[in-house]
Amino acid sequence: MKGTEVIFEDVSKFYGEVLGVNKVTLHIPPGITSLVGPNGSGKTTLMNLMTGLIHPGRGSITVLGLSPRDPEQLMRVTGYATQFDSAPRWATGMEFVSTGLTLYGYSPTEARDRAWQALEQVGLTEAAGRKVAGYSKGMRQRVRLAQAIAHDPQVLVLDEPLNGLDPLVRAETISLFRRYAAEGRHVILSSHVLQEVDLISDQVILIANGMIVAEGEIRGVRDEMSEHPSQFIIRCRDASRIASLLFCEDHVTEIKMNDDRLGLLVLTRNREEFSRALTRIALAGHVIDGVIPSDESVDALYEYLIGGGRA
């Protein structure tokens, strides 16, 4: 299993006296993993560590069993799109991607073919012959993604890959990530757009002040947080009656009724008991149109764990 995971074991990295990340232990399986945290929390440091651009002061890292200190091996299975816009001014999109591929040892013809395929995947073939310096922000984002995927990596590390993309391209890019994940590859990305993270991630890593606050599947992380009652929205016709029945349950801590009297917001300390109670109510003949967990999202986790639990 270790050969298929990205593993951090007690990793710490300090920039002089400034903390990068501290005592990070992580096991990242294949799939889409999102790094979520405020600015300066250590997301990019984690990405730079796993791609070997910087090395930890303490601890060890392996990527699919490979050490980041060996770029000759590691960068053949890893593609990294940094957040920096660093394409040379003279290069066209095609030259930028294909030149990068020649550094992997591909022949010029193979490099051109692969560069074209990569540009095709990010929808940039029409602008392939134009200079990168003349690209818009979204196009630069896509050409960076193209150079990261061009050598067909097994681990894709992307720093803020959805920034600056228009909705259509964003949807296409997300479907590309999903395709990669479905093939058993790692897609590790950082993002501030929490709704998107929620939508695309198989697992999230919440990081604050250089320390891992939570990691795992969003639902699993939420289940672990016993100090914050779970929130559910219940759509029903007989809201006041259902509210009175739920109040009889010990685990229910708070109920708010919608203004239209057709919905309830219920806070419970025990999700399983709550589920059983709802079943009993439904079997007793009360019509429940729907139950939606309202805080099983990265947004809510972010607020609880990093934003101080204001939600």
Binding site: G16, G31, G79, T102, L103, G105, Y106, A182, E183
Partner: protein
């Protein structure tokens, strides 16, 4: 537990070797360098002296073409270590100017554009990157140093015959090795300056300053302290002493050959450490 299928096949075709991959970087750098008119002009200017030296060698072997000039003309036009020492000294100046022009554009733009992560996200180590960048300078400086030097040596060997070659074969070795050491020092200076200062023009000035200011400092130390070891601080002087010894000529008064070798080694180590410190993929906060 999510289930994932390995539905893709990685490229398993042939790949180019390590060294040919490294040549990708200098290839583009040379392309851009020779698009600069100033580099071309300087390159052509630096080949004038080797041409004159070639003419000198031709005449020294064809004394019958010269009108009768009083004095020991044969001895005056002798091709020996002194001749190659003068040749090397002149070409060294041109090589510094070329390095000052070409060197700063090698690393400084990568640093100012935050492009190092882009390079290091490839199968390249930091050492590979430095070697690739240095190859650009080595190639450029070779054109004006040991390549014309060896051409002159072979020209003289061809014209003067086997006897001259067996007597002076070490001159060819000295020209090659002497220039190799010089190119290494000049390249390290240019790369370190380029890595230290992100602004190309300032980095170019720094390369020239390194050689000229250290020359001045060395003379000041000698004059103020009434010593001669101050010359060690002058890389050009140290190299001249080393070349003199390699070419079998009497070294000028001053520090010994081994002291010069030690000083040049120390300089190379310091410059290497500067590169090691500055060439990081991520800005290090101190």
């Amino acid at each position: 537990m999510a289930i994932y299928k390995r539905g893709y096949e990685r490229y398993r075709g042939p790949l180019n070797g390590h060294w040919s991959r490294l040549l990708v970087l200098p290839r583009f750098a040379w392309q851009r360098l020779f698009q600069q008119r100033l580099v071309l002009v300087l390159m052509i200017a630096s080949l004038i002296w080797p041409l004159l030296c070639g003419l000198f060698i031709y005449l020294s072997n064809r004394l019958d073409l010269l009108p009768r000039i009083p004095g020991d003309i044969e001895n005056m036009l002798k091709i020996n270590g002194k001749f190659f020492l003068i040749f090397m000294n002149t070409q060294a100046v041109f090589s510094v100017l070329l390095a000052a022009l070409a060197g700063p554009g090698l690393i400084a733009p990568d640093l100012s554009n935050n492009a190092l992560p882009l390079y290091f996200s490839r199968p390249l180590t930091r050492l590979d990157y430095v070697v690739a960048r240095m190859t650009t300078l080595v190639g450029l400086l070779s054109l004006v140093t040991w390549l014309p030097g060896l051409l002159l040596f072979w020209m003289q060997s061809g014209m003067a015959g086997w006897d001259w070659f067996t007597k002076y074969w070490y001159l060819g070795v000295a020209v090659f090795c002497g220039f190799a050491v010089w190119i290494l020092v000049v390249s390290l200076v240019a790369l370190a300056c380029s890595a230290y200062v992100k602004w190309r023009i300032v980095a170019g000035g720094l390369v020239l300053g390194f050689f000229f200011i250290l020359t001045g400092v060395a003379q000041m130390v000698n004059a103020v302290l009434r010593v001669d070891w101050g010359s060690l601080l002058n890389p050009t002087r140290s190299m001249y002493i080393l070349w003199s010894a390699m070419l079998g000529e009497e070294p000028p008064p001053g520090p010994g050959v081994w002291a010069c070798v030690a000083m040049l080694t120390a300089m190379a180590v310091i410059l290497g450490l500067i590169l090691e410190r500055k060439l990081r993929a991520v800005e290090v906060i101190s």
